[in-house]
Amino acid sequence: MVMMRELEDRIEKKLYRQGKVIGGCYTGRGQEAIPVGSAILSRSGDWLTPSHRDMAALLIRGITPREILAQYMGRATGLTRGRDGNMHMGCSRRHCVPIISSIGASIPVATGLAFAMRYRNESNVVFNYSGDGATSRGDWHEGLNMASVMELPIVYLCNNNLYAYSTPLDKQMRIADIAVRVESYGMPSEIVDGNDVLAVHAATERALRHARAGKGPYFIECKTFRMSGHSAHDPADYVPRGLREEWSRKDPILMLQKHMVEHAGADEQDFVDLRKRVLEEISDALEWALAQPFPDPSTLEADVYESR
């Protein structure tokens, strides 16, 4: 969690502004509890389709800060070898599907990933991540409906962060809770505080019990808030000041720290130490990544087809 926060901070606040990171730059600041509380429960055979705000899911799957920074900086050793950028990263070996830009497109794909699990009679599950905006897309509807009709093992983690870019919920839908939408698919669902990593964790456990038992998909709406602009260039003036302050008090990392102090006997020093370790790892990773080569233009036409 802290790693995701600090890593994204570094990418957005330093590297992007220094021009070392180019192209669009999205972060999941304030939403870390969702990928952390859920992906931590994934098994090696499971597949994950993170959204552009779920970097922690990649970290949990073993994708390293080095690889991520190299990806962001378009280096040959990044996860897409410089072919794609920023959060468009994934890895076949570690079972993470990189998003494409088209919001919602990964939802029918999740259906297919789960179809293959059922085809082989596995107890594996797909973790699908998406936002509130994605629920307006036709692909969202088609993908969830097919998954429910075919009773496939998918856990949907929907981060309802109140906005799609600049568009608030009430301009996206006429309902208060996204969870209502999955009644269209006869799909069980629940709503949790997406800033409470333990709540997300508990809900995901329930969802996994359901899905791994072959009972079909399960939907979790995580109420949360985007503690940043839509992307690095967006000041998000359209967000009421009050709303921001309200949610900054619910910062998922502060909430977890509070809990650890109260129930796990942790103290300030632990967090200082942790942050120190994280920053060290990031600096090391950054040093490594900055030393990585850019892709060789001679590889320009490679990898479009198998035989080339």
């Binding site: 070898r81 072919r83 029918p108 794909v109 297919g112 179809f115 085809y119 692909d139 198998e306």
Partner: protein, 324 residues
């Protein structure tokens, strides 16, 4: 050992691949219980079971996305679009997700999208379109369209074994109008190889799909007038067989580019670009394009007849180019 129709040839090819590889499965609308709108998957539910022959809801984007996900997770989906026209509903999944996986993250997508295409069946604007070009234009996809039963079977088998997404365009009019005896042992036809359908020396007609037969008819008639026409059947549109295209152009020096698809933005232009750049010195006459006019496909018989390229038209252009 009678003759096998184009439609039956596709069915045989799929059947054999289903037998050969447990990971091959079929998904589409009305393909299992009903056996498909054109009966290509008839009997497969009974033979392979509902695990491998899957009726999907009416959702092309969902079906293509699901196929892509299944391919990522180790299966070899063969998807049926009830009509090629409806691929438009899954356009983003096909061109942005499936087509770009290998390039972006090295993930193979061994998936076939079968789509009944083409006209001359009174299908009107939405059941007759030739949809190849947007996919030909998308790097990462392969595109094939067989003109004969032999190629129909050989190409579907090759497509299913291919490790890249393949758009397999079946011509509805050819389903039952062409047939031939097929080798008993299942054959494949390599993707990326054109075929000289008829050898000739004066003029080359480069085409594909149903138009191969229209060109042959015109060639037959031209022969009676002493004009020797070579007909090249591309079979694969991506990757194009540039050698075959250039060698026939260099051989006859007079080329007609023929397709059923509409003219503007059709494959004829691409072929003109290849030949005009790489065989320019050999050309003794203009690059003649014959295609449908730039309109939707009309429903009414009189209009559809006028819309579709005919052997009369081809013969006339052949004479003109020969005189040139």
């Amino acid at each position: 050992m009678g003759e096998t129709t184009y439609v039956e040839a596709i069915r045989q090819g799929i059947w054999e691949e289903m037998e050969r590889d447990e990971n091959v499965f079929l998904m589409g609308e009305d393909i299992a219980v009903y056996g498909g709108a054109f009966k290509i998957t008839h009997g497969m539910l009974e033979r392979f079971g509902e695990r491998r022959v899957v009726d999907a809801p009416l959702a092309e984007s969902g079906i293509v996305g699901a196929g892509t996900g299944a391919a990522i997770n180790g299966l070899r989906p063969v998807l049926e679009m009830q009509f090629a026209d409806f691929m438009a509903c899954g356009f983003d999944q096909i061109t942005n997700f499936a087509a770009k996986c290998r390039y972006r993250w090295g993930q193979a997508i061994p998936m076939v999208i079968r789509a009944p295409a083409g006209g001359n069946i009174h299908g009107g604007p939405f059941h007759s379109q030739n949809v190849e070009m947007p996919y030909v234009h998308t790097p990462g996809l392969k595109v094939v369209q067989p003109a004969t039963a032999y190629d129909a079977k050989g190409l579907i088998k090759a497509a299913i074994r291919d490790n890249d997404p393949v758009i397999y365009l079946e011509h509805k009019y050819l389903y039952r109008s062409v047939k031939e005896r097929l080798p008993s042992r299942g054959h494949t036809v390599p993707i990326g190889k054109a075929r000289v359908h008829r050898v000739g020396s004066d003029i080359s007609i480069i085409t594909y799909g149903w138009m191969v037969h229209v060109a042959s008819e015109a060639a037959e008639r031209a022969a009676a007038e002493g004009i020797s026409v070579e007909v090249v059947d591309l079979r694969t549109l991506v990757p194009l067989d540039r050698e075959a295209i250039l060698s026939t152009a260099r051989k006859t020096s007079k080329v007609i580019l023929l397709h059923e698809d509409t003219l503007t933005g059709g494959l004829g232009g691409e072929l003109a670009g290849i030949i005009g750049e790489h065989a320019f010195d050999y050309l003794d006459g203009p690059l003649v394009r014959i295609a449908a006019p730039d309109t939707p496909v009309p429903f009414s018989d009189t209009l559809e007849k006028a819309f579709l390229p005919s052997s009369d038209q081809v013969l006339e252009k052949t004479r003109w180019l020969h005189r040139f």
